[in-house]
Amino acid sequence: MSSKKIKTKFAIAIFSLIIIITILFFTLPLLSLLFRISPEDFVTAILDPDVNSAIVLSLITAGMATVIIVLLGTPIAYLNARHEYRGRNFVETLLDLPIVLPPSVAGLALLVLFGRRGLIGGFLDDIGITIIFTTFAVILAQVFVAGPLYIRQAKTAFAMVDQVYESAARTLGAGPFVTFVKVTIPLAWTGLVSGIILGFARGIGEFGATIMVAGNLPGKTQTMPLAIYGMMQSDLTASIALSLVLIVMSCIILILIRMISGRSS
């Protein structure tokens, strides 16, 4: 065998090894969770009231956070996609910040704003409303961290809609709002939906900011990621069961996004 052939074979072997190590590195940890728990233990753990309430609470809070994100985020996403205004880049950078910010910083910032002595929290405290360590605080944290993901995606989706369709609708007698609902949203639909799914996924996985502003109270603020952390010491099986639920949810979310983006292209 010539030395050139040996070199080629060696290169292929190294290349394959790197590929295998990479795949194993990202899948083995997740698989090891699966092997650590029997199906019976999984079912028993899921039926535990604390575990159960964590799943329900996660779905409810992430669902509500997603609704708030869509209501708050859609207008600004549309504005940024369609209109050039002074300071737009600055506004966009500010809105992107929570994506790269460590969640603990986000949590601390929310705590300082909504805490009893905070700017808004202090005022609310005077009229008898507490936000910190409530279910609402969980939603607040999720909106703060997940909102920018939706806004980004929605902006791109709106920007991709050719304005000529909006113009056509206007000349046919539709006002700006009707045009938005009947033409812009349907044409941006696939992008908007993947933004919604991304936002929901980020919300359901939220941990750092939540534990700082909402604490880890079972049934009230203990969402799945918090329950996994909380139960790790006392009931590893429950933690693993919850993790598997989250892994399955994440898989479903990824498949949904792939299906949607595949359909649009």
Binding site: D162, V164, Y165, S167, A168, A169, R170, T171, L172, G173, A174, G175, V178, K182, V183, P186, L187, W189
Partner: protein, 250 residues
């Protein structure tokens, strides 16, 4: 009748155009790309606002810089056929054509027959429930025309309605298009860069260059362009224009 004086500062030049179009008459705006022809349509439709001037359609003022009047596009009752047609890709042919009627709050049972009549007139009744993305160029053009005409607009604006078609389809459709425009009994303005379109479809022609009218006259005058003596301004301007510009002589 449509009367308009439109002044608008564009990036490269000042657009300043004055035009009058009678009912059932077709005015063709001829010019190369970037001469401001499409901008004139956008100003007339209200998609853009002029800096100065006025638009009077059938005795009502749609725009007046002096009086501070500006009607948005949805209140002008116009028919606009866009370049590439801008048919809503998420709707069927029927939904596209009936869009304007729905916006006018006409009940569905009333406009069903009307849509069918238009589809039949234009020979596209068999694609009624097709998605517009499945149509041929000629079919799209007809759907766009039907969508614009069905609302009984007070003026018709057409932006290069034939460019998206292939040569044989264009030759066939020119006369047919003229017939529809004349039959609508409304003022029509058609933008094109094709001399042939202007000759066949137009009654009046205005040539635009950098936002100014460089020649205007009857469409018939264009036919005998080569017979016009050299010293005539018509000849000089038009011939020079044609030989040095992007106006297609097909």
């Amino acid at each position: 009748m449509l009367y308009a004086r439109l002044v608008k500062k564009l990036r490269d030049f000042l657009l300043d155009v004055e035009l009058t179009v009678n009912p059932g008459e077709v005015l063709v705006l001829l010019g190369e790309n970037g001469s401001g022809k499409s901008t004139v349509l956008n100003l007339l439709s209200g998609l853009l606002g002029p800096d100065e001037g006025k638009i009077i359609l059938n005795n009502s003022e749609l725009f007046s810089s002096e009086k501070g009047i500006f009607f948005p596009p949805e209140e002008r009752n116009i028919g606009y056929v866009f370049q590439n047609y801008a048919l809503f890709p998420h709707m069927t042919v029927f939904e596209n054509i009936s869009f304007g009627l729905k916006m006018r709050k006409i009940p569905k049972n009333q406009f069903n027959g009307e849509v069918d009549r238009f589809l039949e007139n234009l020979g596209i009744e068999h694609v009624k429930n097709e998605r517009v993305t499945n149509l041929s160029g000629g079919q799209r053009q007809r759907v766009a025309l039907a969508r614009a005409l069905i609302v009984k607009p007070h003026m018709l604006l057409l932006d290069e309605p034939l460019t998206a078609l292939d040569q044989s389809a264009r030759d066939k459709i020119r006369l047919e298009l003229r017939e529809h425009l004349v039959n609508s009994k409304q003022p029509s303005i058609l933008v094109t860069h094709s001399l042939k379109d202007a000759k066949i479809i137009g009654d009046k022609v205005m040539m635009l260059e950098k936002g100014k009218v460089v020649w205007s006259g009857k469409a018939n005058d264009l036919k005998s362009l080569s017979n016009i003596p050299d010293e005539s301004p018509v000849h000089v301007v038009s011939e020079e224009y044609i030989s040095f510009s992007g106006i297609a002589i097909d």
